[in-house]
């Protein structure tokens, strides 16, 4: 019976692959490309930690030094340039009357912003039941830091019985807003405003029945926001 013969090794046979010797073999692995050569390190890990500690101590020392030199600033809560409350940043001036329509008293109001940030005028109102307020143009109006904005305010008589002509202390309620707060502040504009408003109300209402509306009460205050 013919069978496969085992290959012969040794002289006279074919040469097979060279086998590693006993204890010298290793599995075949795909070797990645050798990494690029790194530049030599400037600081060792230990040196870096030392530097970090030094800088941290420096920051701490400077902070302590600053607090010691300026204790009042360190203790006080508001920063030096804190934005004041709107009521403390705004200055109002009654400039005077301006031509208005029938049964309307129109005035110019200057709003000055003394604060370091912008100030918005959101709304202008007043308390008399027989008057409505209209600010032609638009609201809110922004007053830049250090700047002045002029507003025209129209007071329209809607009911003479609710528009006292002889009051000596009328004021406007102005709603203001800045980055710190929103506030409504009564602006008492003084004797000139009181006189001019009084004259306008006498003019609008004296020739009519004092208890009869001078005009329709249906005109609402203009939405201002």
């Amino acid at each position: 019976m013919a069978g496969e013969r085992a290959p012969r090794s040794g002289p006279g046979g074919f040469l097979g692959p060279v086998e590693p010797g006993e204890g010298t073999w290793a599995p075949l692995v795909l070797r990645p490309a050798p990494p690029p050569e790194r530049p030599p390190r400037l600081l060792s890990r230990r040196q870096k930690y030392l530097l970090a500690s030094f800088l941290l101590l420096l920051v701490l020392a400077l902070t302590v030094l600053r607090a010691a030199n300026y204790p009042e600033q360190a203790a006080n809560s508001p920063p030096p340039q804190a934005v004041p409350f709107p009521s403390q940043a705004a200055r109002f001036t009654y400039v005077g009357p301006v031509p208005g329509g029938p049964e309307t008293f129109a005035l110019e109001l200057a709003v000055h912003n003394t604060g370091p940030g912008p100030l918005d005028v959101l709304e202008v109102r007043q308390g008399y039941r027989g008057l409505t307020v209209l600010v032609p143009g638009w609201l809110p109006r922004t007053v830049p830091p250090g700047g002045t904005v002029s507003l025209r305010v129209d007071l329209r008589v809607t009911d003479c019985s609710g528009a006292p002509a002889d009051a000596t202390f009328p004021f406007l309620d102005v709603t203001l807003r800045n980055t710190r707060a929103m506030e409504t502040v009564s602006q008492i504009l003084g004797d000139s405003y009181a006189r001019d408003l009084s004259a306008a109300l006498h003019s609008a209402c004296d020739h009519t029945d004092n208890r009869t509306p001078a005009t329709s009460t249906e005109t609402p205050d203009k939405p201002v926001r």
Binding site: A52, N69, S87, Q88, G127, P164, A167, T184, Q187, I188
Partner: protein, 417 residues
């Protein structure tokens, strides 16, 4: 390794920013640190006294002690800063017990005290009326932090528009009842929508004057004064008035007077059936009013000078310093105004010394009086200056209401006329 590199970069950047910030701020502070530091070695040699007159004892002592302490704090601050080189400030406090006669005696004593160059006080307008002439004759400056009667600066005919300054020596840091009474009337009629008010006063200069100003404006607005009455300061039984108020159909009561009487009045009004808000001026704006109203002050109203301290950045340092000084009694309603009144005298002393070649002039009293009308600075209560009548140019006020047993701000107003 990557983490440690990041740490190093972060710290380095932080350090650089810190150095930069320190540098710029340091420069600014150095230039703005006034000359106090430069003169620290120049110890004060001339003792200058600021007199104080206030009700330090008695029923109004809560307000009077706040005045005294705040003036003392101002002198301490000025000394600590060496604000006027060559000058050390101190105080001499007199107790008037809210009594005009005692006030006049105190004025004479302060005039006779040679070191006194200016006086802060008094609280009460009625007391001031007896002191003004004494101070004016001696050319001694008087700055009240709390007087609100317009007569004191504008004269008795101010109501008819005739303003006459009564005494050149009189100044005040509080705004007047002209603003306060009329603002109250506008608030009650227009905002609170009350139309029928019963007006009561204590017959004193402040109370009667304030009530009259309020009532006049309230009527001009179209409101009705349904009744008027007077009480005597110190009265305890207000039941008869309560009955009258309840029967008059009033929807509100306006009271011109001070909290020792206003508190019990409010209490007895409600108990007597007049369950309407009591409205008063700065004389009732004190926590004592709420206590004395015995739980019946809820919803009551008061106007007071200025705006709440928490709205004034300029007041924060004062509040902190007052707390640090350890005073037992609060600075109360007029603390900030008292500090500013004292500081206006300090500013006047500083100007007098500067205009005399850096030396304290021999006629310092007269010089202080001359300089006082020209002072201008940012104080605890805002910009401080005086007009041609000696009145403050800073006219702000606030309406407060008793809510949950404490005064709470309702609305502020600013007079810019």
């Amino acid at each position: 390794m990557r983490k440690s590199s990041l740490l190093v970069v972060t710290i380095a950047v932080t350090a650089a920013l810190t150095l930069s910030a320190c540098g710029s701020r340091g420069g600014k502070s150095d230039s703005g640190a006034d000359n106090a530091g430069a003169n620290n070695g120049n110890g004060g040699s001339t003792k200058v006294v600021i007199g104080i007159d206030a009700p330090i004892s008695g029923s109004l002592s809560a307000l009077g002690l706040g005045i005294r302490n705040s003036v003392e704090l101002a002198t301490k601050q000025a000394n600590a800063k060496n604000y006027v080189p060559g000058v050390t400030f101190s105080i001499e406090a007199k107790d008037d017990q809210a009594n005009p006669t005692t006030g006049k005696q105190n004025a004479t004593a302060l005039v006779d005290s040679k070191g006194v160059v200016g006086v802060v006080g008094p609280l009460n307008s009625s007391v001031s009326l007896t002191m003004q002439k004494v101070f004016d004759d001696a050319k001694l400056a008087q700055v009240s932090p709390a007087n609100t009667s317009p007569d004191l600066s504008l004269g008795p005919d101010w109501g008819s528009g005739k303003f006459t300054r009564q005494y050149q020596s009189y100044f005040r840091t509080a705004t007047t009842d002209v603003v306060q009474g009329k603002f109250a009337a506008q608030y009650l009629y227009n905002d609170a929508k009350k139309t029928k008010v019963y007006v009561i006063d204590d017959k004193k200069t402040y109370g009667a004057g304030l009530a009259a100003i309020f009532a006049d404006e309230f009527k001009r607005l179209g409101g009705t004064v349904v009744g008027t009455d007077h009480i005597n300061p110190g009265d305890k039984d207000f039941s008869a008035i309560a009955t009258k108020v309840a029967g008059a159909g009033a929807d509100s009561v306006y009271y011109g007077g001070e909290y020792p009487d206003a508190g019990p009045l409010s209490d007895q009004l409600k108990k007597g059936g007049a369950k309407v808000p009591l409205f008063g001026g700065d004389g009732i704006y004190d926590p004592e009013f709420v206590k004395l109203a015995n739980g019946n002050g809820e919803g009551d109203l008061a106007t007071s000078v200025g705006v709440p301290v928490e709205e004034l950045d300029s007041a924060k340092e004062f509040v902190a310093n007052y707390a640090a000084a350890g005073y037992k009694d609060p600075y109360a309603a007029y603390g900030g105004y008292s500090y500013d009144a004292a500081w206006s005298i300090i500013e006047a002393v500083k100007a007098a010394v500067e205009h005399n070649g850096g030396k304290v002039p021999s006629d310092l009293r007269t010089k202080v009086l001359t300089e006082l009308g020209k002072v201008k600075f940012t104080g605890v209560t805002g910009p401080v200056a005086f007009d041609e009548y000696g009145d403050t140019t800073n006219k702000q006020l606030t309406v407060y209401s008793v809510q949950s047993g404490a005064w709470k701000k309702v609305k502020s107003g600013t007079y810019s006329g």
